[in-house]
Amino acid sequence: MSDYREMWTQLGLDLKSHDALLAVLGRAYKDIFLTQKNRPAGMKYFDFVTSEVHGLRIKELMDARAQGRIVVGSYCVFVPEELILAVDGISVGLCSGAEWNFAGAEEVLPRNLCPLIKSAFGFKMGKVCPYLEVSDIVVGENTCDGKKKSYEVLAPMVKDLYVMDLPQVKSEAGRALLRAEYGRFVEKLEAASGRKITADALRKRIEIVNAKRLAVKRLAAIRKADPAPISGLDALLINQIFFFDDPVRFTEAVNKLCDELEERVKEGAGVFPKGTTRILISGCPMAVPNWKVPAIVESSNAVIVGEESCIGERGTQWLTEGQGNTVEEMLDRITERYFRIDCAVFTPNASRLDHVREMTKKYDAAGVIHYSLQFCQPYIVESGPVERELEKEGIPVFRLETDYSQEDTGQLRTRVEAFVERLQGR
């Protein structure tokens, strides 16, 4: 690990704090993931990636930069990976899921703010995130109020903060705004990388990202089986690694895992007994290393069979479709694709309810857990109508709101157990 210490020092990390963070993560990973029974062999690749999350992957990013490529970090699935790849750049997701240095974050941000945002600041101010430090550009986006205003505070702390504006309404004007923003983003990427995006390069990168999406869609489809061939925890981990691993290598690893899982399904083998209560999780994203709620659910006699979340199907179910001969045409196709994402920052957001319903049926879920981060107004407000509508249709819903701390795990466990008891009683 001594190679990495030099690299981390170069990146300006606080080694002592960083060591502490890695120790905590290592323990959590061991307790949550490595104690699972009958894991697919294909998970070894993802265990390896996680063990090297701040090591080898960062080295790859630094080597890439040394070759003149740019690293672009972002916090939202609306930032097109295709465009970043088309300037030969590397796209990394910066969303963080650990309660780390919230004291520091709360010096510059309100206490009553989304934990995902506070975590990002906690990592930055605590100097423990090599992804943040290695990014040439950090892309912020005008999504929710919390993020929108927090980027103003983040700007002076990073090398180059670029804020992408997003529409609030899925109208013609909204689509035009998104298209214009993507055009502007292309200009930014070209200027920062010194490369011009060609139609050929963009077409190739669309294929790469589509292939990645197809791989995780394949994984999602296999989870229709009972017994569940893979745990929700492992599927979540894969969806999290989607955001920072090399896309081609990741795609290959997921497809290889899917080959193994398809065999399992044929044999009727799984990680939980057949008939285990099946639950769909819907709502706010769970950024790495946020594994709290799935760990509780899957140790309460239930299995998570799907995620209606940005780190999940909401982020991956659509492909960039259609042919395009020019960069402009392809940007139109890309806009079409991203414009369909039904995050709660949009108003109205009817298609989200449809997707939750569809997914519940597709994965044969007995019920839905609506997951919100504390203080997340868009999802918390949406959770009311989602619960009401689904319950009316006979789909049980349990709404929970939580943060990243361990403080409420006992309370969550009681409620999750009660919800599972309700589902088992039907």
Binding site: N301, D408, R415, A418, E421, R422, Q424
Partner: protein, 254 residues
Amino acid sequence: MRTAGIDIGSRTAKVVVVEGGKIVFAKKSVTSHDLLATMDELLRGVSYDKAVATGYGRHLLRNRLGCGVISEIGAFAIGARALVPSCRTILDIGGQDTKAISLDEAGAMKKFEMNDKCAAGTGRFLEVMATALGYSLEDFAAAALSAARAEKINSMCTVFAESEVISLVAQGARRSDVALGIHGSIVDRSAGLLNRVVVRDDVVFAGGVALNPCVRQLIENRIGLRVVVPEDPQIVGALGAALHGEAGLHEDEQ
């Protein structure tokens, strides 16, 4: 076959033994800081063939006794419905938490809400206030019932409410009026929780605080429905756990 349901709560520990759906034994004791010692003392001399644990210490008990577990929400739903077959809504105010549960026509648990992040409006709150006013718990309820008017308490927090109560009395407020105000605060919190589930009769009021006739009265006034308080409102969870064990469904024994 005797099935025991064990409910170790924050203030009291309960065990109920059922046989053929009937209660054959019930016992309560005070929860000490040592959960396992509490359990040992509670179960001393109690004979049973199978056990199910619920409440705060259920996982610890499962590891110790190898028994099954059920959430206290599930246990209360089963217990209340067994005691009152027409039950559709349950309000449980315990030592440190409150829960509201609504059941469907078949008596299955449907919606639930819990407050276990703050002890204001729970049994603890009542105890602290009774002491601050110099009453025993029984006299506290009686004093509140005898009051002509309620002295409104503004503080939400138990600690600050205690200070407010002392200050009100020092300014000449009648102790009974303050007592009624305190009981009103509890009902405000509970009614808020209840209204988030579907409130339909019959409403069963359980938990230690259900022993308080003033809280009972105020809740009935508030929701406009009669509440049914079982003979021993504190054992509802343990009873539900025992019946769940007897039914032999979804066992989680190790």
